[in-house]
Symmetry: C2
Subunit: 249 residues, 2 copies
């Protein structure tokens, strides 16, 4: 019996956005571990043990998955979106680095449709030109680093996708980010608030940066901030398309 | 008969990475348009007209797709990876903006697994912390903008994913990018050259920035450049894992 660890991105939510590669792996594993709303996306079946856990302590969760794989189990460690983007993949390799006995295991990362690409697709192509992704959580890095990255991105002309924009424990960072960006970008630069894209409670809004407020987001929102180049295209009886041209004006 | 335009990301190449949403759309369309190697990924079948075209003139291709949709056809406009990332989606909305008659059409973007996430998954989690994507093509923007973005990204601590790193017509830009980054990053920062990931001729290499050379890439290579924080984890009888920790040291 040879164990294996599959580090899996479940995509934004809809089953139609789970890759066949991921579906095949999930059908073959003995154990699935992850933050409980993600684990619940994997249907119960005989032979599958589901280990849902609370948010936080990703390292302990990764270590548990690696230990199960080392004991011969086939294990899925799941994240929403793509596990390599502010998900469980980096946590798992951090554990492997600290406990080299795990390095000989069969460990595979299976990519997923990220929240940023699902959100972008919903409104058009806001990430059509150079862009960056920043986690707004200051649990793992200082706020001054986040602020410097936001400013650098805006000044250099990157569209910005914000992960982890807000939470009960971090209520002020998103407004601080908008305040920091307002002097650097036009007031009409579009800000996309894409909540729970592809889920039944999906809600998408586009507002100008001048009117963007932290309270427009929650923990399940992906925020995309356009540049001076980002365009809006009106359409009948529907919100505008938002896209960033490939060619600089 | 009501037409529709689906702007589709086919993923990096392997059928296992095509989402069920995309497969369903491709099974239902009348016409598929795109750069010919992508169109060839969509199997011929009765009722499907395949319009492969050479690279370049994405706007003409997008206009043709929109015109077919306006004439009542169900049309797929395909890109590799995710169509919203240096793909056909931005081109299509650029045409719609210029020809507002198209704005009332049923236009949907279906996300795909991007080359950068497939490449990252292959080596570990190099994009596990803040990152950016830059097209190195200076066909659509001036080189000094590209150079400024590379420097801003490195100085601010973003991992950089480089699209369109090199081509016969643009042979010097990738070496220029490495030369620009070398004074800003440690010489041992890992550079991932991920060619044709998930295709039969896949080839992945990891070299330190000090040794990275433009000739290590071709048109089908996605290049990821780590930061001072990016780590390598040795493993037996295999290339090292590469990951960027979530927590700043």
């Amino acid at each position: 019996m040879t164990g294996a660890l599959f580090i899996i991105g479940l995509g934004p939510g809809a089953p139609e956005l789970v890759t066949p590669e991921v579906s095949a792996a999930l059908a073959a594993v003995d154990d699935v571990l992850g933050y409980f709303p993600y684990v619940e996306r994997v249907p119960a079946r005989p032979g599958l043990t589901r280990h849902g856990s609370d948010n936080g302590d990703e390292l302990a969760r990764a270590r548990q998955g690696l230990a199960l794989a080392a004991a011969g189990k086939r294990v899925a460690l799941v994240s929403g979106g793509d596990a390599g983007v502010f998900g469980m993949a980096a946590a798992a390799f951090e554990v492997v680095e600290g406990e080299p006995g795990f390095a000989g295991l069969d460990i595979r990362v299976l990519p997923g449709i990220s929240a940023m690409f699902a959100a972008a697709a919903r409104v058009g192509a806001p990430l059509g030109h150079d862009f960056c992704a920043i986690s707004l959580s200051d649990n793992l890095k200082p706020w001054d680093v986040i602020a410097a990255r936001l400013a650098a991105a805006a000044e250099a002309g990157f569209v910005v996708a914000l992960y982890n924009p807000i939470s009960r424990a971090r209520p002020w960072q998103l407004d601080a980010a908008f305040d920091l960006l307002r002097p650097l970008l036009p007031g009409d630069a579009p800000v996309v608030f894409a909540r729970a894209v592809t889920r039944p409670d999906e809600a998408v809004a586009v507002v100008p940066l001048a009117e963007a407020r932290g309270q427009m987001a929650d923990m399940r929102t992906l925020v995309i901030i356009g540049t001076a180049e980002t365009r809006q295209v009106a359409r009948p009886a529907a919100p505008p398309f938002v896209y960033t041209p490939r060619r600089m004006a």
